[in-house]
Structure formats: C-alpha cells, structure tokens
C-alpha cells in the first residue's frame, strides 16, 4: 500500500511538490478572479512562469 501510494505521488507530483502546490493556488486565484469583472486569463501563465523559475532556482544555487 505504501509503495502504491509512493508510485502515485511520484507519478503526479514528481521531484518538487512545491510546483503542484503552486499550481493549485494559481487555479484558486484564477477561479476567484474569474467571478469578478477583472480579466483572469493572465494569472495562470504568469503563475506557471513564477513557479517554474522558483523551482529551477532551488536546484541552480
């Protein structure tokens, strides 16, 4: 069971769990903004760029 859970964790989350958390937070912010009159299409591309750069920087120190 533990190995089964580890497989799915590696399969979905991968090397850096912060990336998955960042994406979930970005989805939440996008969904919130989409309920207002402010355009929300720009949130996810910028959030992805930020999350990717932070994850890369953690390795490239």
């Amino acid at each position: 069971m533990k190995r089964f859970g580890k497989f799915w964790w590696d399969f979905v989350v991968g090397d850096d769990w912060r990336v998955a958390v960042g994406i979930v937070l970005a989805f939440g912010l996008t969904a919130l903004l989409a309920t207002t009159s402010v355009p929300a299409w720009w949130v996810l591309p910028l959030a992805v760029a930020a999350v990717l750069w932070l994850s890369l920087r953690r390795v490239a120190r």
């Binding site: 979905v12 991968g14 994406i23 989805f27 996008t30 355009p39 299409w41 996810l44 992805v48 890369l56």
Partner: protein, 218 residues
C-alpha cells in the same frame, strides 16, 4: 530484456500489460465523457500542468548544464548488466524477472500516454480521433526507426523532452484556465500565444541558468 533474459517471458509480460492498459482505457474512456466539461478541463489542465512542468523542469536543467544529460548507451549497458545478473526465478513457467520488468515498464509508460490521449480526446470531444492520432504517431516512430536505423543515443532526447514539456504545459494552462472559469481573449486563437509564451520563458530560463552555471564554475 528480450536480449538478456529471452523473448518468451518478455513478450508475455508486454502482452499482459497491453491487455491491462486496454482494460483501463475501455473503463476510463466512457467514464470521462459523463464528467461536466468544466470540471474535466480543470482536472485535466492541472494534471497536464504538473506532468508538463516536470518534463520542462528536467529538460531546462539538462539544457543549461545543471543536470547531466542522459547517456543512453550507458543506461542501456547498465540495465543490460543488471538484467543479466538478476537471479532466475520460475513462476507459471515464466522467467518472473523478465515478465515483471516488461509488464511494469509497458504499463507505467503506457499509462502516461493513455492518460494524455484520453484527456486530449475527451476535452476536445473526440476520443476516437485522439486514438487515431496516437496510433499514427506509433506507426511514424516505428517507420522512422526502421528508415533511420540509428541507435537510440542519436535521438536528441532532451530536445524532444523540452518540446513535449512546452506542449503539455501550454495545454495545461489553456484548459486549466478555462476549467477555472476564464474566457481567453480570442478563444482557441489564443492557444498559439500561450504556446509562444511558454516556449519563450523556457528558452529564457535556459539562457539565465547557463549564465548562472558559468558563474558558479568560474
């Protein structure tokens, strides 16, 4: 596996995994079509994003020198030696090592491909068309392998991984945002714009990390 442990158990393992994959696809395909499209796009977008960013992150780190580029010849030699040295255990008349390694390899890699094909098909409303596209890709790759007859090490693996990462991330952003309630300016026409943005920032990150690498070495 076939070269080192024999073809019979290897092919049985491959066949069993293919059957298991077919069963999973047959069960999941129809189930996906009953999920509301917004929910499906949000979940699919999220999963494509985490997969895509995993691919892209590794490809950028390799392209900028922060992670070693995979040496396919060395990987092949190491895995061949491991397979040759593994003890032989017979179960159900099969070399169990050859069977399980082949089964796991085909099932796990196949699951990722099946997931991508199913989700692309369901979010665009045509699983059969996505399956035809996947089948055409398999035929093309096999034909290219026969025509080129070059070893796997000649394939620019990291360039392919980079391109796959950019594509998955782009579709993940596009569908994920739509699932979260976003209306893209220009609708589907904005997809090339998202693709260009992801490709540009990724190439920019490669350049920036190469500079960092040079400074770190100097």
């Amino acid at each position: 596996m076939g070269l080192t442990r024999g073809w019979r158990s290897t092919l049985v393992g491959t066949g069993a995994a293919t059957l298991a994959l077919a069963a999973i696809v047959a069960a999941l395909g129809p189930a996906l079509t009953v999920i509301p499209i917004e929910v499906l796009r949000l979940v699919v977008g999220g999963l494509l994003l985490v997969f895509g960013l995993q691919w892209l992150r590794k490809a950028i780190l390799r392209a900028s020198g922060w992670r070693a580029v995979r040496d396919e010849d060395a990987v092949f030699a190491r895995e061949r030696a491991e397979a040759a040295n593994a003890p032989r255990v017979e179960r159900a008349g099969l070399d169990w090592y050859a069977f399980t390694i082949s089964f796991k390899g085909v099932l796990l890699e196949g699951l990722e491909v099946a997931f991508i094909v199913l989700t692309f098909g369901s979010t665009q409303g045509s699983i059969p068309l996505a399956a035809v596209g996947a089948g055409a890709a398999v035929v093309l790759v096999v034909l290219a392998g026969i025509v080129v007859r070059e070893p796997l090490s000649r394939v620019p693996e990291n360039t392919l991984a980079f391109a796959v990462g950019v594509m998955l991330t782009t579709f993940g952003i596009f569908w994920g945002a739509e699932g979260a309630g976003v209306d893209w300016p220009g609708g589907d026409a904005s997809l090339p714009g998202v693709l260009g943005f992801v490709a540009l920032i990724s190439l920019g990150f490669v350049t920036a990390l190469r500079r960092r690498r040079k400074l770190a070495i100097a």
